[in-house]
Symmetry: none
Subunit: 239 residues, 2 copies
DNA sequence: GGATTTTTGTAACGCAATGTTGCGGCGGCC
DNA sequence: GGCCGCCGCAACATTGCGTTACAAAAATCC
């Protein structure tokens, strides 16, 4: 995502479409619009998008159905717009695979906030279509391959990590040399918020250190920042 | 399906019948209704329908029985409506030949979404997945040929897979390096929705691993993503 | 068309991964 | 130096998954 994120706004109401498009453009996004499902599919076929803002009620095939179709073969993030008063829509929308939802009428700022949150969560995970991230991370001779979900040590030995440990390390590799709070790490690895006295990250990290630190008593790769979180100290080469 | 799809709603509760009929009509479907199995059979004899929405509890012959009769000599898609609670879940799991189901009370929008999803699946080519040209998949020396429904190992030995195992592997080959949820896999391989505690994908996958993984205890080709689904870790060359 | 074989789905059990809790230690602050 | 709060980690609880055994359904064979 070297250029600014590309967003597709799908709504049959021209006024809303234009309003949202202008607003998002003003905030630095590239925006295209579509009035219905057919136009949406056409747009998706032509360009690469990072996110779709999708109205629930559309002429022809409706938003839920479209959302399901998108999910069938891509991970393109979707934010659903729903008419007000239908609480259950939230459940349905999320069930159908939307990443977030917003009730109409909405404050454009709130839409912006959710777009940012969803894009951040989607993280480096790229746009539309099949070839999902073929990236590999290297640091200090270590090799982390997200697609294979494998970690190899400098002497090229496969280090057995559990899924959670792997996700945690991957989150650090994607954000090296930055302090990451427990909140952020939870969001990045589990996609969830912290509950009051949540220590799960601490424990998971402890387990991870045991497997990758030369001396887990004196961690060098992932250091603790008291009161702040943790920081990955190595240079990461991304390819 | 050049004209709008034609739907038959079968429910003994007049209120629900009318509500659903009005809602679907408003969304562009042609709708007829029937209050019981006899009326349903009569309606089916008179017109062409694209889908039946069928209540489980009916006076006289019940929905399950009717559903089986329909299945006996047609592929007409069926969505079952079930009253929540009772033993219905069990019955659904055991006997449903329906394409999808929905628990009452339901949100009409959700019914609409499911109708669209089922119609889409029914409309797609009968052999699930993709239309499938003469494509062949290669990964790690393996060769998967959807047209012949054959899998050959790196040493060119024909590996006997059952139909279901083959479909599952083909689904992965078409979506490599992406986490696929059990829901998605069911949709891709069986074209159906999951029932409450559906573990069929797990079992099928276990059987598949036994045949294609060097060490099924430590799967490398298809890995588990706890809480997420499964991921095919190999590069796939498609030709 | 019925019997046999093969495939698929369901249930149950055990294990491994993850989350939670609590204690002890260490560091920072006054 | 003593107190307080944050963090590491062991121990326990919970959850999700792999696997097996069995049952139902489908395919195959006479």
């Amino acid at each position: 995502m070297s250029r600014s994120p590309h967003i597709l706004v799908v709504d049959d109401d021209r006024e809303i479409r234009d309003l949202v498009a202008r607003f998002l453009t003003k905030h630095g996004y590239r925006v295209d619009t579509a009035a219905d499902g057919r136009a949406m599919m056409q747009a998706l076929g032509q360009g690469r998008f990072d996110l779709v803002v999708l109205d629930l009620m559309l002429p022809g095939e409706d938003g839920l159905s479209l959302c399901r179709r998108l999910r069938a073969d891509s991970t393109l993030p979707v934010i659903m717009l729903t008419a007000i008063g239908e609480e259950t829509d939230r459940i349905i929308g999320l069930e159908m695979g939307a990443d977030d939802y917003l009730a109409k009428p909405f404050n454009p700022r709130e839409l912006l906030a959710r777009i940012k949150a969803v894009l951040r969560r989607a993280g480096a995970a790229p746009g539309h279509g099949e070839p999902a991230a073929n990236e590999v991370f290297r640091f200090d001779g270590w090799r982390l391959d997200p697609a294979r979900r494998e970690l190899r040590s400098p002497d090229d030995v496969l280090v057995p990590l559990t899924g959670g440990e792997f996700d945690l390390l991957a989150a650090f590799a994607r954000h090296p040399k930055r302090v990451l709070s427990r909140e952020q790490l939870l969001d990045l690895t589990r996609g969830r918020a912290a509950v009051p006295f949540d220590r799960s990250i601490d424990v998971q990290l402890s387990r991870l250190r045991r497997k990758i630190e030369a001396d887990p008593r004196e961690p060098a790769m992932i250091k603790t920042v008291r009161g702040g979180g943790y920081i990955f100290t190595r240079d990461v080469e991304r390819r």
